[in-house]
Symmetry: C3
Subunit: 257 residues, 3 copies
C-alpha cells in the first residue's frame, strides 16, 4: 500500500516482534530506536487493540521525525517534546477509498505515512489534536538512598530492560548497588564480559537504560522475571569503602544522549 | 540473486511464516494480500515440497500481477481470472547457469521474477501451460438455512479465518448466527471492541472473510481449533424477533472488494 | 544508521534467526549465502558475545565481497581466500560520534558498512590486521573407507546440514552409504521426493553440503540430533554388488560450485 502511493519510499522493518496488543512494549521499542533513523523519517507504528472503534488515527511531527499510528499512547514518549504537532488523520483524501473496520494499518495508517513521505503537509491529513492519549508510563521513583524502578521489557536475548535511566544514577564519582526482584546483583559494570560466564550483572545499555543480564545467558529465564518486576538501586558516596565487585562507569565511555 | 539480475528491484517480504510444506496456507496468505500491491508487482512465492521432481516451475500473469513459483496449486486463486496467462519457466536463459535440485527458489524462481521485473515478456520464459495444478480449495456449502464452511487459517493473533466470505452471507437487512466447532458464538459484530474483553466473537475481516476471534485473546487457544474445524452460519429474516446480542453489519461499513 | 550515512544503500536481511552468541552458526549461514549476492556487496554480520571488550572490529575484502563485523571468527571461511585484505575499523571518523559499549552493530559496524557502500576505501577504516581470530571450524576427516564428519546445523525445516562437502565424496562412478548418530540411512538420493513420505534420506544440498532429511518431516525431531552429531560416509567401488536402496548421484545433476 505504501509503495502504491510513494513508489520511491524506502521501507525498513524495525520489529514485528511486539507481543499482540501490548502498546507499552511497542512504545518502548520505538522510543529506543527512532532517533537513529535519518531526520524526517516517517515511523509507521501499529499496535492497535482499539481498531475500528472511535479511537483516533494520529499523525505527529516530533523531534524531527514523523509518527503515524493509533491514538492509544503508542507515542507517549514523543508528546512532550517542544514543537510537537499532532493531527487526527481523518481526511478521506489521504486514506484508501474503502476503510475496513479491522485493518487500519493498511487502510489509514499506511496511506498517511506514504503521503507524508511524499511531502504532503501534516496539517492536510486532518485537524489538530490537543489531547492525545498518554500511557501511564512507568517512571522510576527517587528515594533517600537511591532510585526504585521496574523491569519494562525483556529482549530476545533475555536481558531485562528497566525504566531506570542513566540520568537517574549518580555520576562517575559515586557507586551504586542494584537489586532486581529482591535479589542483589552488585554494582554496575561497563560491558557483559566484565562478569564471568553465566553470572548476573547490570550495566547501562545502548539506549541509556539500566539493564540486568546474565553473561551469555538469559536473565529472564534465570530469574523468572519480566516486565513489572521491581528494581532497586542504592547509591553510596565515593569516600565510603567500596563494596567488593562494584565498579563505576568511566566517564569517557558512558552512553548519553 | 534478484538484485544481481535487476539491481533496481524493490524487495518486500510478505511473510516467512508459512508452515513448512503447507501449500494451502501459502495460497491463502498470498490471496489475501496480493491485490494491495501496486499493479504489475511480481509475486515470488515458494512453498515447494516437490522441489527437484518433475513438477513444473510456473510464471503467471493474472489480475494485473505476475506470480512466480512451483506448479503445485499455490496460485489456484488466480487461475480462474479472465485473461490469465501461464507459462512453464523452462528457458535456460532465464535461470542460473547451475540449477540445484533442492533450491529452485534461488536458481529458477528468483531469476524468473527478476527478469519479469526488468520487463522480459512472460512468453519468453517458456511454453504456455494449460493444465496447472489446482488445490482442492475448501469451499463453503450453501444450505437451506445458511452456509457451512470451515476454518482455513489461524493467524498470529490466534484469530480463526474461515472460508466463508462476505458474499456468502445475507445483506444488511438480515441477521445471522455463527457456530464454530459446534459452539455457538452469536451474531456478527463490526469490530473487536463490540465484544467484552475475553469474549468470543465473529466479524468480517479486512479481506472479506468471516473471522472468529477472542477480544484481546486467542480464539485458537480458547477453542483448541485450527484449520479444518467446521463453521456453520444460520440466517434469519429481518421480520423475525432478533435473538439477543446479534447485530447486522451496517451497510456503510461493510468491506467489499 | 546505515541510511543516515548512505541514503541509497539497499538493505537485504539475510537472517535474524541465528541463536544468540552462536558465532559458528552465523559463519555457516553467511558462508552458504554470500556468494549469491552481487559482487561488491557489503555483508554486515553481527554475532558478538565480546561486544565492549578488546576484541577488534573488522572490515574485510574477500572473494569480491566486503564483510564487516567482530573479530571473533565469524568470517573464518573467507580468511583463506587469495587477495583477502583485513583491517581493524578503528578510525573514529567512520564511527558514530558516541560509541556505546554494548551495541557496536549500531555504533561501529553499521557505519563501517555504510561508508564502504559509499565507496570509502577499506584501508581508510583502520590499520591492517594479520592475525584475525579463526574459529575451530569442524572439518571432516578422511578414513581408509570413507569420510567422517558431523552435523553442523539444523535448518528451520529440521534438515541436518553436515560438514561433509561434495568434494569429500567419490565421483559419480562410486556409491556411498551414510550413517548419522550411528544410524544407517542408506545412500545418497538426488532430491527429497526420491524417498517415501516420512523416510530418512541424504542428499547434497544447494550449497554443496551433505544433508540428512526426513521427507516432509524433521530429521532433527526424528533423530533427536543436532550440531555435533557424528556423520559417517562409507565408499564402495562401482564393481561391487550394490547394496539395496543406494543410489549414485547422476553426474548431470550434481550441484557443484
Amino acid at each position: 500500500v505504501l509503495l502504491g502511493i510513494n513508489p520511491r519510499a524506502r521501507l525498513v522493518d524495525l520489529t514485528h516482534g511486539i507481543p499482540a496488543q501490548d502498546v507499552l512494549q511497542g512504545a518502548i521499542a520505538l522510543e529506543g530506536a527512532y532517533r537513529y533513523f535519518p531526520a524526517g523519517t516517517v515511523h509507521l507504528a501499529v499496535v492497535d487493540p482499539g481498531v475500528g472503534t472511535a479511537r483516533r488515527p494520529l499523525a505527529l511531527w516530533s523531534g524531527g521525525h514523523f509518527f503515524v499510528g493509533p491514538d492509544n499512547g503508542l507515542f507517549t514518549f514523543a508528546l512532550h517534546q517542544p514543537g510537537t504537532r499532532i493531527v487526527a488523520s481523518s481526511n478521506p483524501r489521504y486514506r484508501r477509498s474503502r476503510v475496513s473496520r479491522t485493518f487500519h494499518a493498511r487502510d489509514i495508517f499506511a496511506p498517511s505515512a506514504a503521503y507524508l513521505s511524499r511531502g504532503v503537509a501534516l496539517t492536510r491529513l486532518g485537524p489538530p489534536v490537543s489531547d492525545p492519549v498518554r500511557l501511564d508510563w512507568p517512571r522510576p521513583r527517587l528515594t533517600p538512598r537511591g532510585v526504585d524502578g521496574q523491569v519494562i521489557r525483556a529482549d530476545r536475548f533475555g536481558n531485562l530492560l528497566t525504566n531506570v535511566g542513566e540520568a537517574d544514577l549518580p555520576g562517575p564519582g559515586r557507586v551504586c548497588r542494584v537489586a532486581v526482584g529482591g535479589r542483589s546483583i552488585g554494582g554496575l559494570v561497563g560491558t557483559y564480559r566484565e562478569r564471568p560466564r553465566g553470572a548476573l550483572g547490570a550495566l547501562i545499555d545502548s539506549t541509556g537504560r539500566l539493564e540486568v543480564f546474565v553473561r551469555q545467558g538469559s536473565a529472564r529465564a534465570r530469574l523468572g522475571l519480566g516486565p513489572g518486576a521491581p528494581v532497586r538501586v542504592r547509591f553510596s558516596s565515593v569516600g565510603w569503602p567500596r563494596p567488593p565487585r562494584t565498579r563505576t562507569i568511566p566517564a569517557r565511555t558512558r552512553t548519553s544522549r
